[in-house]
């Protein structure tokens, strides 16, 4: 069963068609990247997949079930997790509570000691144990990115959407992103990454889709896409 798919998704803003009949399949155990120039429709497609925007036409499917009309929280409870391009943490909560929210509202129904253990394990995995009791608002950007990631992953989602995950990170932190995406995919998750940093995308992704003017103009492995003239054309048009 395909964890996430888009079928003929169209989304327009007034007269501007931002996403124009996109078909996308996101398989389990793979990192799928969406790239394209500014205004190509990446963010709009991402928002349609995450549930922030409802497509004008077409469907979004999770494990074969039509979730087009489901709100983002309902999709999250079905196993779709996401991070944001901007920092999206709950500043008035501690790091541990930020992560706990992800576990409490996840598809897997766990409670009590099991939930505590799950949160503790995720904090440990991402090296956040020492700041678990700190208010998120007091921590630096790099740490908060990890907090956001921990919140997304603690519920063991089947699909992870990463929106410009390197935004705000330094070089050392950025270099760990492909490894993290790879690790998530290796655990069987379907990972979607939207990123401007093309070398990073080509290092991390199994499949790359190139968007231009709301349409997928090239798809394939990183090597195939890099050879495809559509890639150069898409970025040249912008």
């Amino acid at each position: 069963m395909i964890p996430l798919a888009a079928r003929g998704v169209v989304r327009a803003f007034g007269g501007l068609v931002a996403v124009d009949g996109v078909d996308l399949t996101v398989p389990a155990g793979q990192v799928t990247a969406l790239i394209g120039p500014n205004g190509a429709g990446k963010s709009t497609l991402f928002a349609c997949l995450a549930g922030q925007l409802r497509p004008d036409r077409g469907r979004v499917l999770m494990a074969g079930v039509d979730v087009t009309r489901l709100a983002p929280d309902a999709r999250a409870r079905r196993g779709l997790a996401r991070t944001f391009q901007r920092l999206a943490v709950f500043g008035s909560l501690t790091v541990a509570d930020n992560v706990r929210i992800g576990a409490e509202n996840a598809a897997r129904r766990i409670r009590g000691a099991e939930l505590d253990a799950e949160v503790a394990a995720m904090l440990d995995l991402l090296g956040l144990t020492t700041v678990a009791g700190e208010l998120a608002a007091t921590l630096p950007t790099g740490t908060l990115r990890l907090v956001e990631l921990a919140r997304a992953l603690v519920g063991r989602p089947s699909v992870v959407l990463l929106d410009e995950p390197t935004s705000g990170l330094d070089d050392a932190q950025t270099s760990r992103v492909p490894l993290a995406a790879r690790a998530m995919a290796d655990e069987g998750r379907a990972v979607v990454i939207v990123e401007h940093d093309l070398p990073l995308v080509f290092a991390a992704a199994d499949v790359v889709h190139v968007l231009a003017r709301g349409r997928i103009v090239a798809s394939g492995t990183p090597a195939e896409v890099q050879r495809d003239p559509a890639l150069t054309e898409a970025f040249a048009v912008s």
Binding site: A50, G51, Q52, A71, P72, D73, A74, A76, R77, A81, R82, F84, A88, V89, F90, G91, S92, L93, D97, R100, I101, G102, E104, N105, A106, L135, A137, T138, E148, R151, A152, G155
Partner: protein, 636 residues
């Protein structure tokens, strides 16, 4: 012919509404502030003209010139310099600016109470002659209407020219979009925001002196009417003055033309209520049907990380709350409403402090609770039902208000900031105008206290017990899974949804609990006074209560209790309006009191206990605090 005469009569109120709409739009577009205090500035300027002409016997037109062209803009200049400029400079959230506007409103109303008292003036100066002019065919129009239309046209043209046809207008809009960027481009932002604020105040003043002769002049009525007529600015999407003028004239004329419709019985009562309150009904319908007309920015209440309450203050407030039991009879009677009002304010902590939602209509829920409790304890109050025991009536009132809160909280699911503020205000105002002000609902009510709690002493104890339950309920809501979900909604609604929090359900729940508590608080207020007083649940009260809760710390339950004590105690000890003046003044200082009065006080005390503040970016560990304390004591 009658229809034409009514249309011309309706133009008068339409013109004033148009002026208000233009003023709100100009202020919003040029300063970025949706100034809820606009109505109170109009009221203050109108009162000042009355003072000059009727009390000091100054000549009319020099007084108008001084009042509208000098004093009103000066008020705007001072507000900009002291309040709004600071907020804009540090990029304050829309909620903070909204509360500052609310502070202006509450402060102005408080000052008006202090200076002019509560009684209404029936002789505000009429600027233009009221004689009517014949247009032929039996159609007559008041000369004042002609002048009003002229004033509106002038104001519209002036606003459009300033906003779009001048370099100052362009620069002002640039300042709203990005103050720092505008400064880097060489724009004198302080001067521009002062000019914009002064211009908005001038329009408010003009609207105030034109409106005053058409109604009784007291601190509340003109303020409320101006707030209700903001519907025309909302219809114009806070952007198009010409649309605002059109909407104002249509509503003004429509209100007048409803005189032609005559229905009998209850339908007639509803029709008359609709006619009197057409603007507020239009406001409610607009914000529910066309919410996107209101610009949506951020806008949650609660600006800083919470400070932890220590047991000391809790015990101190508990002791203070018990003290009235040893007061003499008169003082105990004065203190009687404090716990009841505190229950209402605690409900605001739930909705605003925990969930970060702006609610300006809490007086409506409290009033409904009071009215329901009174109706349920009156034999035949609800046809076919005997009088119920008063204690049961309190509980039932709360339970019956809760679904109403859920229903009216429904619009909150998709609204934030100004949109939510206006929606909740409209709900509270409609409740006040269509229920509390209608004799059909409020006559022949007999408000009883519960049998075991007839004396003031016993009823105060009962109120305290219910307050304790309310505090514990909201405290519990702020903890555990529910508390985390509400904090997530407050901090970042999109991220909360992405984390799987059912934001819609949580918001509805919190509105339901808050309205239940407000209903119970209202029922207690009515039973304490042994009467239903519609003015106690006036929409302006809702604004004052919200401001008081935010001023004391929107997430601070102790703050809510202390705010109730201040609102009741200060007015009782001094004069009506003193507490509003204090709350309004403090609301204007919120820029210097992040999170509110009590959280600031707690942080200050904690910082004093910790010694000098650590270097930026560093926090003292518990061991570090011990070392700092030892160093202050001079220990090695």
């Amino acid at each position: 012919m009658l229809a034409a005469n009514l249309a011309f009569a309706g133009l008068a109120i339409g013109c004033v509404a148009a002026l208000i709409g233009i003023g709100l739009i100009a202020t919003y577009r040029l300063t970025g502030v949706f100034n809820l205090g606009f109505g109170s500035i109009a009221m203050l300027v109108a009162f000042l003209l009355w003072q000059m002409v009727r009390v000091w016997h100054w000549p009319l037109w020099p007084s108008v010139v001084l009042d509208v062209f000098v004093v009103a803009p000066a008020i705007g200049w001072v507000l900009d310099a002291v309040v709004f400029r600071q907020l804009q400079r540090r990029g304050a959230s829309e909620a903070e600016r909204l509360v500052a506007g609310l502070g202006v409103l509450v402060l102005c109303v408080g000052v008006a109470y202090l200076v002019w008292g509560t009684s209404a003036r029936t002789d505000p100066p009429q600027l233009f002659p009221t004689r009517s002019i014949s247009l032929g065919g039996g159609v007559r129009v008041g000369a004042n209407v002609v002048y009003d239309v002229g004033a509106v046209l002038l104001a519209t043209v002036l606003t459009l020219v300033v906003m779009h046809g001048t370099r100052i207008g362009t620069a002002m809009r640039a300042v709203v979009n990005g103050r720092q960027l505008a400064e880097l481009s060489g724009v004198d932002t302080d001067e521009l925001s002062a000019i914009a604020s002064s211009f908005g105040s001038f329009l408010a003043g003009l609207a105030g002196v034109l409106l005053a002769p058409q109604l009784r002049l007291d601190p509340v009525q003109p303020t409320l009417i101006v707030l209700e007529t903001m519907v025309v600015a909302v219809i114009a999407g806070m952007a198009r003055p010409a649309v605002a003028v059109g909407a104002a004239l249509v509503l003004g004329v429509g209100q007048s033309e409803l005189n032609l419709v005559h229905w009998s019985g209850d339908a007639g009562v509803v029709l008359r209520a609709l006619q009197s309150n057409l603007f507020v009904v239009a406001l409610l319908v607009t914000v529910i049907v066309l919410p996107r007309l209101i610009p949506a920015r951020d806008g949650v209440v609660g600006f800083v990380a919470p400070s932890r309450a220590s047991p000391g203050p809790v015990v101190a407030v508990g002791v203070l709350a018990l003290m009235p039991l040893w007061f003499d009879a008169a003082d105990l009677r004065t203190a009687l409403p404090v716990p009841a009002l505190a229950v209402v304010l605690v409900s605001l902590v739930a909705v605003s402090g925990l969930a970060g939602q702006i609610s300006l209509g809490q007086a409506g829920y409290a009033g409904l609770g009071a009215l329901l409790a009174a109706t349920l304890t009156t034999a035949g109050g609800i046809p076919g039902l005997p009088a119920l025991p008063a204690l049961l009536a309190i509980v039932l009132a709360g339970l019956l208000v809760a679904p109403i809160g859920m229903l009216t909280g429904w619009p909150a699911i998709r609204r934030r900031g100004i949109a939510l503020a206006i929606t909740t205000f409209a709900v509270g105002t409609v409740a006040s105008r269509f229920v509390f002000a209608q004799p059909i609902f409020t006559t022949d009510l007999r408000v009883h206290r519960p049998g075991l709690f007839q004396s003031d002493h016993a009823f105060y104890l009962l109120s305290l017990g219910i307050l304790l339950l309310a505090v514990l309920t909201v405290w519990a809501m702020g903890r555990g899974r529910t508390g985390r979900a509400l904090a997530a909604i407050r901090d970042d609604e999109d991220a909360a949804r992405a984390a799987g929090v059912n934001v819609s359900r949580r918001k509805i729940e919190v509105f339901a609990v808050a309205s239940l508590l407000a209903g119970i608080g209202g029922a207690l207020l009515a039973q304490g006074a042994q009467a239903f007083d519609a003015t106690a649940f006036d929409p302006v009260q809702g604004l004052l209560w919200f401001a008081a809760v935010v001023v004391f710390g929107s997430r601070d339950l102790l703050g809510a209790v202390l705010a109730a004590a201040l609102l009741v105690g200060v007015d009782a000890a001094t004069v009506t309006g003193a507490s509003a003046t204090i709350v309004g003044g403090l609301a204007l200082l919120l820029g210097w009191l992040p999170g509110g009065l009590l959280p600031t006080l707690r942080r200050t005390l904690a910082a004093a206990a910790d010694g000098p503040p650590p270097r930026a970016g560093w926090r003292l560990t518990p061991r570090g605090r011990q070392v700092a304390a030892a160093m202050r004591r001079g220990a090695p």
